[in-house]
């Protein structure tokens, strides 16, 4: 990562009510590089959604700065440039879809940006193919499943050709199948070079990220690769977070006196470690 970071947050403070002493985001600094997948974890009310809303100028910082490719989110002249560069997808797909036909909804952002009609067509086709909903383009959104609706919402955002996609608990309301569909779409987007910031509750999703941030009471309290973060099971539990089952199992095995390697967080890695252990031990 030799280039300048795509998103830069410096000492961000924000509170919803300036009369109250508690800050929703209390001094956060972070960076997101081009093409990176960053997961933000944290218990309810830790300020992670508030942080996300600062990334495309939905909320503006009280103190501190948020820079999107060098543009300050407080500069109103750049507002639409910033929103076009940083797309945002929310939790409930039903509340993000504007139009009554899938392709019209995907075109909504481009219509707002004043993109000429022939170009809208090519860009929405591209976005719908990337999100895997091209075959549903003439359908009414309410006839689709949750996962499909959320992918319509994602397509509507990536039609703007953003450099970064912020997912604010975008999989929280979906069933496991819908979640898998959305994760597949995220992988496609990463392959296309789009940075992803995913605010999530699901450890399995965070485990696929390049970098994990853990927030607690408006601050970033842990940062590192998924392996580094998830192997600290005790600390995660103190922030009211779940621990991946594989990491939990590894900890209990270590506690029982079995030699297990560090950084075991996925079921596959855990199975491999156990296999090695069983092979190595005398029958």
């Amino acid at each position: 990562m030799n280039t300048k970071p795509m998103l830069q947050v410096r000492d961000l403070h924000f509170r919803y009510d300036p009369e109250q002493p508690t800050y929703a985001v209390n001094g956060v600094s972070m960076e997101v590089h081009r093409g990176e997948f960053v997961a933000v974890l944290g218990a309810n009310g830790c300020g992670k959604s508030t942080l996300a809303k600062h990334l495309n100028a939905i909320l503006l910082p009280e103190t501190g700065t948020v820079l999107v490719e060098g543009m300050d989110t407080r500069e109103e002249d750049h507002l639409y440039d910033i929103r076009q560069k940083v797309g945002m997808v929310f939790q409930n797909p039903d509340n993000q879809i504007v139009a009554t036909i899938v392709e019209e909804d995907v075109a909504f952002a481009l219509e707002n940006l004043g993109v000429p009609t022939p170009e809208i067509r090519t860009r929405i086709d591209e976005a719908m193919k990337m999100a895997g909903i091209y075959d549903k383009k003439d359908k009414a959104p309410y006839k689709l499943s949750g996962g499909q609706k959320q992918r319509v919402a994602i397509a509507g955002v990536i039609a703007m050709r953003p450099d970064c996609l912020v997912l604010d608990e975008a999989t929280a309301m979906l069933d496991p199948r819908g979640r898998a569909q959305v994760m597949q779409t995220i992988r496609t987007l990463r392959a296309a070079g789009i940075s992803i910031v995913s605010i999530t509750h699901y450890m399995e999703e965070a485990a696929q990220a390049d970098r994990v941030l853990v927030m607690n009471q408006g601050k970033i309290v842990m940062e590192g690769t998924p392996e580094e973060v998830f192997s600290q099971t005790e600390r995660l539990k103190s922030y009211h977070l779940d621990v991946p089952q594989a990491a939990e199992l590894r900890d209990q095995l270590v506690a029982a006196g079995l030699p297990m390697p560090e950084n075991v967080i996925t079921p596959e890695a855990c199975a491999e470690a156990l296999f090695q252990l069983l092979q190595g031990s005398p029958a």
Partner: protein, 267 residues
């Protein structure tokens, strides 16, 4: 049960009427309504009915759908017919006389003409919604009202509101069903009791529905902002309405037929 409600009752198809420019269809529907009232002679009404039958067969819309769309207006038709029947004064001897009521030949003529006219009116306007999807209809209305922007009439906002309303009808219906089931599970009696009791029973359904609708509106506004929505200024459209040569021919044909119907008045 709530799911059966359809607004607009679009009947998808690919006939010449379905493909026609929606703006033309709206204008022609209005013209047809005007003609129905201008051509108040039996021949004119008969010809307008014939025109309607021709258009319905062109659109390949099954006749039972017409009956379905006419069902709710049966009381209105009967009401107007009865009013015309008894209150239309005529010359000469009444055909029937009893107490204050009397029926003249003129009354019967008028009653029949009036009911046929109302039926043609409803069937004609239904044809518009049958052959045009609500979203296309909204686009057409936006396009037709565009000149009003000069007098600062919020045309784009109106169209946007209509689109969002159409989009949220199924969502809110689903939500209402969910809330009704949730309240039933808590022992609410929704389907029986006296009229006032039933009205009372609606309160625990409407309040959560409203609260959730406001929350949805809030989130939708944020999602729209995230997609750079800033009103109608400088907006382009994915689908641009085009008035084709075929539309021009349709317009000419319709205008000619309507003119013939109006001409019957002067015979």
């Amino acid at each position: 049960m709530l799911r059966d409600i359809t607004i607009g009752q679009h009947f998808p198809g690919n006939s010449i009427l379905h493909r026609c420019d929606p703006r033309l269809k709206i204008v022609m529907t209005i013209a047809y309504i005007v003609v129905l009232f201008v051509a108040s002679n039996p021949l004119g009404i008969l010809l307008s009915l014939a025109l309607l039958a021709l258009l319905y067969s062109l659109a390949k819309i099954p006749y039972r759908l017409i009956l379905k769309s006419l069902k709710p207006i049966v009381p209105i038709v009967i009401f107007t017919a009865v009013l015309n029947l008894f209150f239309m004064g005529g010359e000469g001897e009444p055909l029937f006389h009893w107490w204050l009521l009397s029926i003249y030949a003129e009354g019967i003529r008028y009653a029949i003409l009036m009911s046929v006219r109302v039926i043609a009116l409803i069937a004609g306007t239904s044809l518009l919604t049958y052959t045009t999807s609500p979203i296309v209809l909204t686009d057409a209305i936006e396009s037709l009202l565009r000149p009003l922007e000069k007098v600062h009439f919020p045309v784009h906002e109106l169209a946007m509101m209509m689109t969002i309303a159409l989009r949220f009808i199924p969502t809110l219906i689903e939500e209402t069903e969910k809330i009704m089931n949730a309240q039933k599970a808590r022992g609410a009696k929704l389907d029986n009791g006296k009229f006032t009791e039933r009205i009372h029973a609606l309160i625990p359904i409407l309040i959560p529905l409203f609260i959730s609708a406001f929350r949805r509106a809030d989130e939708l506004a944020m999602a729209m902002e995230c997609r750079c929505y800033h009103g109608g200024q400088g907006r382009t459209r994915l689908k641009v309405l085009r008035f084709t040569r075929q539309d021009g021919l349709c317009a000419l044909a319709m205008a000619a037929m309507l003119a013939v119907i109006v001409a019957t008045r002067f015979l």
